[in-house]
Amino acid sequence: MAESVEAKLTIKDFQSDQDVRWCPGCGDYSILAQIQRVFPEFTHKRENYVAVSGIGCSSRFPYYMDVYGLHGIHGRAPAIASGVKLANPALDVWVATGDGDGLSIGGNHMIHMLRRNVDIKVLLFNNQIYGLTKGQFSPTSQLGQITKSTPAGVIDPPFIPVSLALGAGATLVARTMDRDPKHLQEIVRRVEKHHGSSFVEIYQNCTVFNDGAFFQYTEKETRDDNVVYLEHGKPLVFGKNKEKGVHLNGFTPEVVDITTGTYSVSDLLVHNEQDSTLAFILANMIHNPALPRPMGVFLAQDRTTFEDAMQGQIAKARAKRGQGDLQKLLDGEESWTIS
């Protein structure tokens, strides 16, 4: 039923008629905008996109995309999305979720979906807070953070979402930020290409309940010194003038200056997207505040997707036993006739 003349899609085609209802200045606007900007580049027809979400500010995302959308219940988007994808593997399924939705109540569905490698692209809007319920801490909130439910400070050590996804066996794990539109776009392009589960942590500013949580990484003035961009096959260089790099001492990353002559670019850690140990080392850099925060693709591996394996078993059964004869099935193997 493909229409014969396909007009090229534009950003407008992905903007729904619903008023966007996030708070003024919320980082969610940028994330939405980058996705609407990048989607027209992809090859899918508009009707084949499905956006699934749970509950939270971030989970309002589907309403604003003019594609098929399902705003589910809190934490369950990965499970709902799995059903969508398994029922119709031709669809391009995206999940929008928050740090609470995706890692607190929905943590189990998330890790199981990643383990199974269902081809679903997860965008986790991490603002280190519960936005929609007005400011309680989330599993990514920082130790000591004062929130509505922790007037004396958070005492739960946070998850490192990237580590958790790696531990669960995810095949593509990445991190980016609301306030770096170009990088965000690049990551979105990248996950669209990945065949398998993708998990993208997006640092997102909640202007109302956790303003500035990521400013040291996202703002022009401080970004260059605090962020290192990961590129496959490239050394980890950063700094305003690309003067610094990450060197590996045993398993321990360190910042080195590559302008003083002691270290040069060739001493630096070279990123390899396929190395899961390296990915874990990069994920753990968060524990040392002296290290820059890695952005980009931590890990990207190829593995059979769950839906391909499922279709494969069906195809195999059909090759062996035909399409299935209902009457024969009902009659069963041991029947008798009364006349």
Binding site: L70, R76, G83, L86, A87, H109, Q323
Partner: protein
Amino acid sequence: MAKSVETLDEVTIRFAGDSGDGMQLTGTQFTNTVAALGADLSTLPDYPAEIRAPAGTTYGVSGFQIKFGSTDILTPGDACDVLVAMNPAALVTNVKLLRDGGTIIVNEDAFTDKNLKLANLHSNPLDDGTVAKFLVHRVAISKLTASALDDLNLSTKFVDKTKNFFALGLMYWMYNRPIDQSVKFIREKFSSKDPQVAEANLRVLKAGYNYGDTTEVFTTRYDVRPAQLPPGKYRNIMGNVATALGLVAAAKKSGLELFLGSYPITPASDILHELSKLKEFGVKTFQAEDEIAAVCSAIGASYAGALAATTTSGPGLALKTEALGLAVMLELPLVVINVQRGGPSTGLPTKTEQSDLLQAILGRNGEAPLCVLSASTPADCFHAAYEAARIAVKFMTPVICLTDGYLGNGAEPWRVPRVSELKPIPVSFAKNPQGFQPYSRDPVTLARPWAIPGTPGLEHRIGGLEKDHVTGNISYDPDNHDLMVKTRAEKIERIADDIPLQKVEGDAQGDLLVVGWGSTYGAIKSAVDSARARRRSVSHAHISYLSPFPKNLGEVLRNFKHVLVPEINNGQLIRLLRAKYLVPAVGFNVVKGLPLRAEEIEHAINEILGGKNG
């Protein structure tokens, strides 16, 4: 030696032994043979929650009961005529189920001191009066089995494992049934994998049969004639298998792909197992990480255009509560099969109960009405599952289909329908973008359109927040909410226009109407038939459609002076009837994890009608 043959109308046999003794297999084999010869029948497996509790203990006893006959067999029997007991524990835990004067066949070799101790017995029940009221046949089953296999050089453990086939052979002889079908089964099951196992089992089966034939202990064989069943093709079927087939049939008839999102739980897991075998039918089974993911995956699949189902039992249904509310809001078709078991909480996982009815109908946050059906017999599970799918798709609604542990594991002969006889399930996905509105409604059914991803021009968003009654956009408007709450309720009410009126078995009016639902069908019908035979003015209405009720139900109830509602719960259907129709119905509630007994229902009937009991 010449043996006489006596003809019986019906007989109830119970096989009981250790979990490791293969009693379920023995019972199933016997059932299949009996069924294929045209008897009507009903079975009740009764196994422990432990996988394989230590041998010889009372809590490790596994039982299988079958009633069969040339008459209309409605239940697996209140009391047994024959008990086959493989060890002391099996004897003492089951002897109370035998009718006075009934027959016991025991493996006397198993009555060792060790086994008596394991069963916590201080004396041998064969000698201490426990079995005085019965006709006892002590058979050296272990020894006879061993000698049948003497020359094969097998381990004692292995030999011991085959002894159930001795009992089976003996029962075949006693009930004048050929061993052929079991011979075929043993060959098919074991010959290729392990010829020695096949050989041993066959020998022992025959040894049992021949033992009956030659020994002087047994002088009479019994014959049970084929039942007068309507013409057709028959098979013996367990409820869980029937449920699985009902779903597959609905998928085929509707032209949809079947998607099952499930999480294993006793006694529902077999539906998942059955469906996972049917890949050539395009059935997709997804064993999710938990029940929430199971139902959510089914909701997603339904959104994407599959015939989506989820199967579970009580605790799992509890976990699906929130997501079912979402399905109600989304107005997507969804079939939920709940195989009820003993509750509350983990309760009695392997026992039967009818205590999830109110949860199914009323147990959700907010006003979240949906359709609830039930199955009355193992074979009826097919129809109930099929009907659930049909209504789900037609009315764009979740439908909960209630069966229970007894129905799921019980079996009976089923007249297999021709595919062409099955009610059509027409489905038309929305296609036309012109004037498309996600929450516009069919004027008759109030169903909204099913517009699936992949359809150009129908891109739309739905979710769990209240929605505008036409566009489906989020709406916080007070009047719209009131309208939507009432429209969702009205849509479910309209299903009553699409289902049969409530039937009454017996006269349409009289002194007493016994109202039931679900697996008590056979027991209630037996009780009512028997009371009617004694000229009592009593009829039976068995409700399959529980939400909404059939339109004539109020009228049906008001035609009787009294209404009695037997349930295997503490009074659930009765609450709904009293609330809706204000009839002073009284309940009969025995919650033992077991099917109700016809006899106790009849007793309750007599109590109301003032007649003599006993």
